[in-house]
């Protein structure tokens, strides 16, 4: 019998050298990403006087919690955090609901002007945000909701990205599923709620995470739309600390670290939802 011409290693499998190269590249990338983060944590745990000492100490010992204490008890930080969480949560919940509902309509229902409306929405994605800030402020001012929570909540709901995503995902669900539900006696809203929503859970989580993160980190619009200190959100508030306390990098770093906590929590909370049940098994393979 003829001998095998090639070894058992297939052509696509990387060699040990290639693998080592990938690992080194990944480690360098990880260090580049994690170092600033660790530096901020480190700075938040140092007294302001020891922030610029040479050589710098990466691990402060003993850690100094004074910045955190001052932030929580002696600054409007809790108020900013509460505002941010309130606005981000309301916008996220509303957007997940409205975007999926609109996505369902665009993907599954026949109505006059469906494609034209959808194209219009997609076209909105192409308009740079900077170009619409002033007209948006004019509208918000004209309807009298500037300097209110509505100014922070309503405009972000119009971002069409979620609708676009939802429409694409729902379009991929087989038409027979909603037809079967129609024959089974489910109303149109029932089909959306009972059949479509459970099947697009991973995509809903994606929209939720994108929206929540975006809301949590948005700066320009809250800066323009709200002047009332009681309505200030985290990003604008933390930026304004520069004026309030001259430049206290330790305090700033502590604010940045505390500001990250809700996002990190949200990520760990929703992480498992990314692995929602696939739609395998619904259809003949």
């Amino acid at each position: 019998m003829r001998e095998r011409l090639f070894s058992s290693r297939t052509v696509d499998e990387p060699s040990r050298i290639e693998r080592a190269f990938y690992h080194v590249a990944l480690i360098v990338a990880c260090i580049a990403l994690v170092t600033p983060f660790l530096y901020v944590i480190s700075a938040s745990l140092k007294e302001s006087t020891s922030l610029f000492e040479y050589p710098p100490k990466l691990v402060p010992f003993p850690p100094y919690f004074g910045h955190y204490e001052r932030l929580v008890s002696d600054s409007p930080f809790p108020r900013w955090m509460a505002n941010t969480l309130f606005v981000a949560t309301i916008v996220t919940v509303a957007k997940v609901f409205l975007d999926s509902l609109a996505g369902y309509a665009f993907a599954k229902l026949n109505f006059v002007g469906r494609n034209a409306f959808f194209l219009l929405m997609v076209a909105m994605l192409l308009v740079p945000y900077g170009a619409i800030i002033l007209p948006l402020y004019a509208v918000v001012h004209a309807i009298g909701i500037h300097d209110t929570y509505f100014a922070l909540i309503l405009p972000p709901l119009c971002n069409p990205l979620g609708v676009f995503l939802m429409r694409q995902v729902i379009s991929m669900l087989p038409k027979d599923l909603d037809n079967a539900a129609r024959l089974d006696g489910v109303s149109e809203f029932g089909i959306y709620r009972r059949i479509i929503l459970p099947l697009i859970k991973p995509s809903l989580v994606v929209v939720a995470v994108i929206t929540f993160t975006e809301m949590f980190m948005s700066f320009i619009w809250p800066l323009v739309a709200v002047r009332d200190q009681d309505l200030q959100v985290l990003t604008v508030g933390v930026a304004s600390m520069r004026n309030m306390t001259s430049v206290n990098f330790g305090l700033w770093s502590a604010a940045a670290v505390l500001g990250m906590v809700p996002l990190a929590l949200a990520f760990f909370l929703f992480q498992r939802q990314f692995q929602a049940r696939s739609i395998a098994g619904a259809l003949k393979q």
Binding site: L177, L183, R277, A282
Partner: protein, 391 residues
């Protein structure tokens, strides 16, 4: 009329009057822009009947099913379910169940929830749903699978779950859209007989769509053959097979398909023959005028292979291909440029390339006119010879 006193619009077909038919289609049309998908489809389906809509892909058979179910609107024509005009009744109120080509099971629900879903949506109580689900599961041998999700089931089991979801409501009719088309060959045969057994036990009107003529012939009480949205023939399986209405039905129904030989009628006094590539006497055929363009059809099993020198041979042909399908052979022969297939049990006696004679069974001839329409004895036009006494 005062709207307050106006009659309540018909919402369901449940209180429909007595009618001899479960489903009636009257002049059904469907058009997508310039494309005519259905053209004047008329069909009456009796209660308990198993009707198969048979035709090639794109012939409009699934569209008929969707129009009956209310999932698509007809461009014209009427649909009656249990005698009640159903065109404007919502799908859920039409009292029909559908088994989809892609089973359309809800992937996030267990088998029990999938089967019970239609009842739940109609407001049935939890205990009543559970009881009925258990009955249906027992009927379909799914009791062990009730807590599983669709993705954990085999193709045949998923198919049964889809059937269970259709059966549980006890509807007027089941509509089945190629439910066996994606199963492997063995499972398809098994599920075919299971479906038939189920139909006989449940006794419900069933409209079944397929492009597989074997499936149609083995299952149907009546077959409706469709082509390009036009009904070609409606009849019992035997009738469609043995008296095809036109050359399309003749070649679509039956495997291998019917052999067709075209030619002109050659009359020699009272004797009539087909003169073309193949020349055969048409003694038993309805009389036709001399020179009429016709097509002679003959089923593969109605041709005998003989030695080419045998006196009863009608055509001499060359064997091009022998396909052994087990109990018989399909022999493709070339008769002066015309290919035809012969079904024979004379296995092992024939070799490719050999010259053989074909003897055609005179009682099994089918004649079609130049438009491909079947010529029946009572519709044939007899050309009266000019020298006959009647002239």
């Amino acid at each position: 009329m005062n709207p307050i006193n106006a009659p309540t619009p018909v919402e369901t077909v449940a209180e429909a009057p007595d009618t001899p038919f479960a489903i009636e289609l009257v002049g059904l049309h469907k058009r997508y822009g310039a494309l005519n998908v259905l053209d004047s489809v008329d069909l009456d389906i009796e209660p308990g009947e198993f009707v198969v809509l048979l035709g090639p892909s794109g012939c409009g058979k699934s569209t008929i099913l969707k129009i009956i179910a209310g999932l698509e609107d007809a461009t014209g024509g009427e649909v009656y379910i249990k005698g009640r005009l159903a065109n404007y009744i919502r799908p859920k109120d039409r009292d029909v169940s559908m088994v989809f080509q892609n089973y359309a099971l809800y992937p996030h629900m267990t088998v029990a929830k999938n089967i019970g879903f239609p009842l739940k949506m109609r407001g049935a109580k939890g205990s009543a749903v559970a009881t009925r689900v258990a009955e249906i599961a027992a009927l379909l041998e799914l009791t062990e699978q009730l807590e599983k999700y669709p993705e954990q089931l085999s193709g045949g089991q998923r198919q049964r779950v889809a059937l269970g979801r259709a059966i549980i409501r006890d509807p007027v009719a089941f509509l089945m859209d190629e439910p066996l088309s994606n199963l492997d060959a063995l499972l398809r045969v098994q599920m075919r007989s299971e479906l038939l057994t189920l139909h006989r036990r449940v006794g419900k009107t069933t409209v079944y769509v397929t492009h597989d003529q074997v499936e149609a012939m083995t299952m149907a009480d009546r077959i409706v053959v469709l082509r390009s949205g036009v009904v070609q023939q409606v009849g019992k399986t035997r009738e469609v097979y043995s008296r095809p209405a036109n050359t399309f039905v003749a070649t679509f129904v039956g495997s291998p398909p019917m052999n067709l030989f075209s030619g002109r009628i050659d009359r020699q006094g009272s004797k009539m023959a087909l003169a073309g590539v193949v020349r055969v006497d048409l003694d038993g055929a309805p009389p036709l005028p001399d020179g009429t363009q016709v097509t002679l059809g003959i089923r593969p099993e109605d041709i005998r292979i003989r030695p080419s020198t045998s006196p009863d041979v009608d055509v001499v042909a060359t064997i091009r291909l022998i396909e052994d399908v087990g109990a018989e052979d399909f022999v493709t022969v070339d008769a002066s440029g015309v290919r035809c297939i012969v079904r024979t049990t004379d296995q092992g006696m024939l070799v490719e390339g050999a010259e053989v004679g074909l003897a055609l069974d005179r009682d099994a001839f089918h004649l079609f006119d130049e438009d491909g329409i079947r010529i029946e004895a009572d519709t044939a036009v007899v050309a009266v010879p000019s020298d006959s006494p009647a002239a």
